[in-house]
């Protein structure tokens, strides 16, 4: 873990975020916590349902051993608080007094029913930014509809275009609708901070996860609006028709026909596998796209006897943008990630172990991404925050515990 006394604070140092979300929207606060914001996760006394989602450390289910929870909650503090009733609600409002950002993913209207809607929060703290992340947004005929990541991928156009033509759509690894929404949520929150810097007023951000998903599908809207085309499933053929998966003798590679054509075709020809690719019309990049199926069939026949790593190294030496199709396990042996210090060891003292976490997607020279604390145990910071910041006494804390508020 990094030294907390480092001279460079993170870019969001000094900002207080109250994270009321459950597992579906936890990444937005995580992105802020990684950059130095003080993110306090507020869980119901039973804990975020994400604590019950596996995988678990050593496959032993426990609310403090969920790797699913860990991924979304690194660098946050956590308290338990039932703010659906008083005095929990009043305690939350006191925390909101000094907060900069609240993130929530309740069903539309639920916060208002609890007396914690935008109007009430804005009245309590006019500088507060409220980020609401819901499946379909705060308005419209679907606003009360249920969704998980799969339903969002369906309704956002992400599922339809993955898989083989005529067969069932295939879902990607990871909860990519939630993830895309989290990035949009963090970006919009930064925008609201810039606006607040001018007039000291916060605002309410209505984020639709369906819409975030629709943005994260590269080509579907452009093809429909630009050409009236409904993009089909194409297997591994990229819609631009410059990429397709091929099979080497020991695994798969990604072909790319956008690099230096002369270098590629000379190499293939030297192997005696060029067939008609030596003809001049293939030098035209648009011709290569138009006849992609034949082109990739010829290249598939060329690569089938290569070992994929050998093919990759030779291709890259010629500046051909080839890649191996690897398992995610291979990331842990990747020399490039290792050289850049991508994976970060995080200590979990109560388990007596440390674990390798995926790290920063960006290296900031002046305000770095860093790990300041492992993911919080359930209720780990309840007493610390309620006692030190709100001045509650030991007796008051005991009473709240007895009432099931904390």
């Amino acid at each position: 873990m990094s030294d907390s006394a480092t001279p460079f604070p993170g870019a969001l140092a000094g900002l207080r975020v109250l994270d009321l979300t459950d597992y579906r929207a936890g990444l937005a606060g995580r992105l802020m916590a990684d950059m130095g914001a003080d993110v306090v996760k507020i869980e119901p006394p039973g804990g975020d349902p994400g604590r019950r989602i596996g995988p678990f450390v050593d496959d032993r289910p426990h609310r403090d051993r969920s790797l699913f929870f860990w991924f979304y909650n690194l660098n946050k503090r956590a308290i338990t608080l039932d703010f659906g009733r008083d005095p929990g609600r009043e305690l939350l409002l006191r925390l909101i007094d000094s907060a900069d950002i609240v993130i929530e993913n309740f069903k539309p209207g639920r916060l208002a029913e609890m007396g914690l809607g935008w109007e009430q929060l804005h009245q309590a703290n006019s500088a507060l930014i409220l980020l609401s992340m819901t499946p379909f947004g705060q308005s419209g005929p679907f606003r009360d509809y249920e969704a998980d990541d799969t339903v969002l991928a369906a309704q956002g156009g992400m599922l339809y275009v993955n898989g083989w033509p005529g067969r069932q759509p295939v879902r990607p690894l990871g909860l990519q609708s939630y993830h895309a929404a989290a990035y949009f949520g963090a970006i919009a929150t930064l925008c609201a901070l810039f606006a607040r810097d001018r007039d000291s007023r916060g605002q309410w951000i209505d984020l639709s996860m369906q819409e975030a998903t629709a943005c994260a599908v590269e080509h579907v809207a452009g093809s429909y609006f630009g050409e009236g085309r409904i993009e089909p499933r194409r297997g591994t053929l990229h819609w631009s028709r410059y990429f397709r998966v091929g099979r080497c003798r020991d695994g798969y590679i990604m072909h790319c026909t956008l690099g230096d054509w002369t270098s590629l075709v000379e190499w293939v020809a030297a192997d005696g596998k060029a067939q008609d690719l030596v003809q001049p019309q293939w030098e035209d990049v648009l011709y290569r796209a138009e006849h992609a199926e034949h082109l990739f069939d010829v290249l598939d026949d060329w690569v089938k006897d290569y070992a994929r790593d050998e093919l990759l190294e030779r291709a890259q030496a010629l500046r051909l943008p080839y890649a191996t199709v690897r398992s995610p396990e291979a990331l842990f042996a990747d020399e490039q990630l290792a050289a850049r210090g991508y994976f970060v060891e995080v200590e979990h003292p109560e388990l007596g172990r440390s674990f390798s976490y995926p790290g920063a997607p960006y290296l900031f020279s002046g305000s770095p991404w860093r790990v300041t604390r492992r993911p919080p145990l359930l209720g780990e910071h309840t007493h610390e925050i309620l006692r030190e910041e709100l001045g509650l006494t030991t007796a008051e804390l005991a009473a709240l515990t007895a009432e099931g508020i904390i």
Partner: protein, 403 residues
């Protein structure tokens, strides 16, 4: 029109292809003045409609020849009047022009530079050439984009470019915010590879902690357990295009009460009383048999109707939207007026992707179509940099600027 949140921020934009333009497009939609510096002629094909129209809207364009010393001089002078310089080249390109952070911070001490290279500026693979589809192959997504088992079956597009683009926009805003607070600029070395690896999710910790080899997720729930959970083929639609007949519904039945409502909705068929489906644990264990029943039910359904009935029973469900569903007939996206419209120079209108985050006081907006290359030459060279008309003509004559 309400004020835009990023008003007053100027961006000198060297990005190209997809990921970089996605990042600067977001900054532009939210009000930054994005000046795209590019070559003429540009790549073949229209850039006012389709993906290209989406990528470059709300930006300005100047056509400057960076192979000419006076072109570089223009870029350096413009950097002095900018808050952010952003590129997605490998390290040597900006350094070669004297446009890297080390050089620019000499003439503009608080400049923010974000470089969104493929694999980062450091490390043994820094010079690898890559595109989004090759980066998602290196990251594990492509191998695990399969049906229950078998060869890769996707992606049909580049998710890596979108993930890289969002990460780039966030990086730029974080660095600009830091500067707002401290007055200090900095350099951000963003690896698009690391950006897409970072959204793999908890599977990476399962590998690191438990040493488990990851299997293709397909429709096994990656969140709260659910069964049935997946996509099921519905009745064909009598559409104008073949692909429009390919109808599917996605659904997730998670809790016991959802299961009971699901059974009622299906008309309580005899199979639903089978003891093998009595609890969630059993439904997951016997998911293949359960799926066969749901598949037979779904085949008799019209997808939109099934979605409405399932949702009214409180069950997560959604039509697997194709391009037409998404862009022309999704009741929710229509009601929220999600898709934006820009008017092209000829007067025709085209639709573009909207903004999924709506800020109540300073929403972003979609204002202008993708610019013609060099269309802001006079504004940038004249109004911002103070070149006279005669000097601008001389720059064109010298080959430093394209008209």
């Amino acid at each position: 029109m309400p004020e835009l949140p990023l008003v007053g921020i100027r961006v000198l934009d060297f990005t190209w292809v997809v990921a970089g333009p996605v990042a600067t497009r977001l900054l532009a939609d939210y009000g930054a003045e994005v000046i795209k510096l590019e070559r003429k002629p540009g790549p073949p094909g229209s850039r006012q409609t389709g993906l290209q129209g989406d990528l470059h809207r709300d930006k300005r364009s100047i056509a400057v020849n960076m192979s000419h010393p006076r072109g570089v001089e223009i870029a350096r002078r413009l950097a002095q009047q900018s808050d952010l310089v952003i590129d997605n080249f490998s390290a040597r390109v900006m350094r070669g022009w004297g446009m890297d952070y080390a050089s620019l911070s000499q003439i503009k001490p608080d400049i923010v530079c974000v470089s969104m290279s493929g694999l980062g500026h450091t490390g043994p693979r820094a010079s690898y050439v890559s595109y989004g589809p090759t980066l998602q192959a290196l990251s594990g997504y492509t191998l695990l984009m399969t049906e229950a088992s078998g060869a890769p079956a996707g992606f049909g597009y580049s998710y890596a470019d979108m993930a890289g683009g969002y990460t780039g926009a966030l990086a730029a805003l974080l660095a600009l915010w830091h500067r707002r607070r401290t007055g200090r600029g900095q350099f951000v070395d963003l690896s698009q590879f690391e950006a897409v690896v970072s959204v793999v999710g908890p599977a990476l910790l399962d590998i690191a902690v438990n040493g488990r080899t990851q299997e293709a997720p397909n429709f096994r729930s990656q969140e709260l357990p659910a069964a049935p959970h997946g996509v099921y083929r519905c009745q064909p639609r009598d559409g104008n295009q073949d692909s429009d007949d390919d109808r599917w519904i996605a659904l997730a039945v998670r809790t016991q009460s959802e299961w009971e409502r699901f059974v009622v909705l299906l008309g309580a068929p005899a199979w639903s009383r089978d003891l093998r489906y009595r609890t969630l644990y059993l439904r997951i264990r016997n998911q293949a048999e359960l799926d066969a029943h749901v598949t037979r039910w779904a085949a008799e359904q019209q997808a939109e109707d099934a979605m409405a009935r399932l949702q009214h029973a409180g069950i997560a469900a959604g039509v697997v939207c194709n391009g037409a569903d998404l862009c022309a007939r999704n009741p929710q996206l229509q009601a929220r007026d999600f898709w934006g419209t820009v008017t092209l120079p000829g007067g025709a209108a085209t639709h573009v992707t909207g903004l999924p985050a709506r800020l109540s006081a300073t929403p972003g907006s979609i204002r202008t179509p993708s610019p013609l290359i060099g269309s802001a030459n006079d504004y940038v060279l004249g109004d911002l940099l103070g070149y006279s008309a005669a000097e601008r003509a001389a720059l064109v004559e010298a080959g430093a600027v394209w008209n």
